[in-house]
Symmetry: none
Amino acid sequence: MIGPADEFHVFDTTLRDGAQREGIRYSVADKLAIARLLDDLGVDYVEGGWPGALPSDTEFFRRARAEIDFKNATLVAFGATRKVGRHVEDDPQVKALLDAETSALCLVAKSDVRHVERALRTTREENLAMIADTVSYGVAMGREVFLDCEHFFDGYRHDPGYAAAVVGTALEAGADVVVLCDTNGGMLPSDVRDTIAGLRERLGGQPRLGMHAQNDTSCAVANTITAVQAGVMHVQGTANGYGERPGNADLFAVLGNLALKLGLPVLPDGGLAKMTHVSHAIAEIANLAPDTHQAYVGHAAFAHKAGLHASAIKVDPELYNHVDPALVGNDMRVLVTEMAGRASIELKSAELGLDLTGRPDVSARVTERVKELEAAGWSFEAADASFELLVRDELGSPVPAPFTLESYRVIVEHREDGAVVSEATVKVGVRGERVIATAEGNGPVHALDSALRQALLPHHPGLAGVELADYKVRILAGSHGTAAVTRVLIGSSAGEREWTTVGVHENVVEASWHALVDALAFGLSREVGTT
Amino acid sequence: MIGPADEFHVFDTTLRDGAQREGIRYSVADKLAIARLLDDLGVDYVEGGWPGALPSDTEFFRRARAEIDFKNATLVAFGATRKVGRHVEDDPQVKALLDAETSALCLVAKSDVRHVERALRTTREENLAMIADTVSYGVAMGREVFLDCEHFFDGYRHDPGYAAAVVGTALEAGADVVVLCDTNGGMLPSDVRDTIAGLRERLGGQPRLGMHAQNDTSCAVANTITAVQAGVMHVQGTANGYGERPGNADLFAVLGNLALKLGLPVLPDGGLAKMTHVSHAIAEIANLAPDTHQAYVGHAAFAHKAGLHASAIKVDPELYNHVDPALVGNDMRVLVTEMAGRASIELKSAELGLDLTGRPDVSARVTERVKELEAAGWSFEAADASFELLVRDELGSPVPAPFTLESYRVIVEHREDGAVVSEATVKVGVRGERVIATAEGNGPVHALDSALRQALLPHHPGLAGVELADYKVRILAGSHGTAAVTRVLIGSSAGEREWTTVGVHENVVEASWHALVDALAFGLSREVGTT
């Protein structure tokens, strides 16, 4: 029932439906970074947002068109069918959707007659007309059109004839795929299997159907896999299962199951092995702790408590792991160790252009240092530049430190007149000279950055081109004020180059200082390298 | 295929298999507290540990017998079948198991011939004899005996005849239930369904079978439900899905699905409504943050973000929730977001006990302020306490400010000797008095908090009970370092009460200050209100 690889769609909605998760608010830069990661992973479609409804989504599409050269993915704009009683050509929301200039659109429509009557407050017929009009208009405008049938499974249970009519109407109007959404997430795999079988019988032929599952019964991944086994050829999911309420189907578990359990070649060569990295990098961008116990990609997904079977696990790992962890870019761990093994350290170094294959001593030392640092709260998943500095150091070709620190001091004052001011003083040695510089800033880190640049610029004019583009803070472990540790990620850019550095300390200012110093050192090293 | 209620077993293994989760280490007192919670919930069996293998488990059974008067649950001791080549009566591990004096035993046995030969290093025949001997000995000693078939599904795939022989041997020897374990967690629902169907055909009759699923494909809950639909009458799970690697089947999702989707009366009357409380209480004992997004029992399990549909959700909640949240002891929440309209503001206020229905003027002003503040970067989605302070303000009954600020100053120094120190001074007015206080801290916000408490405590002794439990920082929007805004969320607690406040400013210290002041004001208002 499953077609060839190019007829199967992996459709990611991390940036649209996944952003509904409580606590997530992406900047446009965050969304661009996530879109790049998903494209690199090799998904077929990246749903970027709802242009028109959210101004920042409109900006995302404009910038994504200009700035991202997609290798694998097609960008999709999401929107609703035309409004009740309006001509599709005159609907401003539909116009905003087309103005996003994506080659593919995903339209959402009601397929539960109760929602048509009570939420949309229109007739069954008008809802079908809205679907037919909007789908055929999108197709006429040269777009590939997907239709998300909201509340499909509840709707089918209540009135299967109407729910099937919605699907049939969209397909007749030219929709490429009609996606069955378990919007409330209340279905079990048996419900999904029986509903799709019933729908296919009503429709006849080989309808092109998709699945969008929510996780309210904790069955979103199973429901998605069951739908594929029942004949759908398009699956929607989100990175790490992010989404409203208990979330969406976790794309990584779906992909792992499809590729490794059902043998479907759902990603391009090498894609699957990037899953663990992409999962963790997106978590960092979302400023959420990666889920240690996530299937396939979690840090503990292949971690075995030593105990009785440790030696057996060592001899026959395939008897204790359901798949080879390396296939998904993860590692087996027997003892309690932090993060990565040598294989992934070497893989990551190679990605950065640093070949460690002939240097087992260096690999071993880098692995050891990464383990120690990650145990203390550092994270190199999203901080490639800090990782590169560490590897270069162990390779014996360290990036030169642009200065030596004597001391710094930062003062933040909320004054009697209500003004809030930050001032930093740094005392550093630069090329044999002692320099003291003081500067103000919007906040303590900005003030420190300004003072440091003031001190360094005369000797390192390249710093003028280095900008701090992003700053993220996470408090790790330790509740009740004790032993809490702060991790800071700083994103920097110079022209088109972007890099991220990390710093960890119990004091947020000192953690920021570490990340800042690495950011400037890395930026200068590249400046030298490229000029 | 499913028998009457008293023939269906809910078997909890939180204290045995669930304790394999990385990072969990229960004291005996922790285990006793969890056993009481599970008994109160109404599970049929509580597997308490492996007496003999772990000394603290031996102590747990001794104390549980003496101290807990179980209302619903039967305590189960876990152990292995007799050792290779030994008489069962002479096996010290079997003796320790019986010495736990539980009326039920759960024995683990190999059912994959590769594990028999490679890990156990014995013959197929001896393994069957070990099972037959140990089961019949337990039965002869008057115990109800369950047999966990380790690696059953992989074993059945490799050699179905042998795996079925293990099950048949145990049933013939008098095992009450034989439990099929997906130890590596690699199965999909279709695998579970087909395997159980094949096994039942081989065995004939009505074998009493159970299911134990691990979550490595993210399908543990679905696999458990599928097994029940395929005829098992005994399900094993753990609270919150705790367990090795990605964990075990989450007992709460399994129970919610069995009771509310399949209509099986799996818990005594009133049990289901205790699930949310029991889930969170066990998380606290395990010293793990409750999973906000957990199905059925998570804080966000019934939280709706979509501002557009808030009015529809208000009218027809049953169209948007897959089950009534009250059935599992949870609540529906509407999140206040930048897309929020008046309907969701009123709903949210009602949740907090603030009735705005007769006050359209107040609703309108609150909506306006929330929109303005969220446009400027504030987020009330997770900051219920800040939202409540805002609504009370507009209602004309503001929470009293515990002090007035004159000024504050924070200094962070990285000294020449490498020491990093933070010091804060606050100048405030408290009940007519001018107070100046200075304190040090791990970081700038900790120092500010300490100084402020020092200044306020003599006048507000209730502050002693207010703790800062969590601190989150996010940098919003603002490209190229300009106009970036920092959002701080502070989680506070006092006894069992928890609340979150938000602050936004371009300076991280000032943003933290706002959230801190709101946190203390809110904490004090509740203190006054309850005494």
